[in-house]
């Protein structure tokens, strides 16, 4: 078992780590909120949210606000658990291995 064993590949990328960090403290965040907070381009953000969706770490809710489409994201139970595991592994790696 290596020292990076519990570091989750899905959270390797800073944008995905950022999305999760936002969603750990906000019940929901919509596309534009994430886009602004992370300074990501549309296409880029879409692919990273899709990767987290595919892993079943976040889920997506599409609705209309007034006449405008709105896409918002939230963590799944699995996502929260995996994120916590990842953070713990990160701390262990950095502080004492």
């Amino acid at each position: 078992m290596s020292i990076i064993n519990n570091i989750n590949k899905v959270f390797d990328h800073r944008i995905r780590l950022g999305i999760m960090s936002v969603l750990m403290v906000n019940e929901y965040a919509d596309f534009n909120m994430l886009k602004e907070l992370l300074a990501a381009t549309d296409g880029n953000l879409a692919s990273h949210t899709k990767a987290l969706e595919k892993a079943d770490y976040i889920w997506v809710e599409k609705q209309f606000i007034g006449r405008k489409p709105n896409t918002r994201y939230a963590t799944t139970t699995l996502g929260r658990a995996e994120f916590n595991k990842h953070i713990e592994a990160l701390e262990k790696l950095i502080n004492n291995q």
Copy 2:
């Protein structure tokens, strides 16, 4: 300025994060030590050390131990500084953004 502004792209990958973590607490680590600690394949480890070298975050010393070649790595001053910045940014992101 986004919430992931000081997250360093070079440290996004778990193997590179692992290499740096090892080298922050060990003055030197050789190829085989890193390979074992990180459970990486030869080619994979070589490309990640090369990436850190290219960024000037680590440097490489090639010597012979007895009759065998030995490649060992150590952090640069820049590497240590950038790693510390990264860790600080990670903590900020995870704990309060």
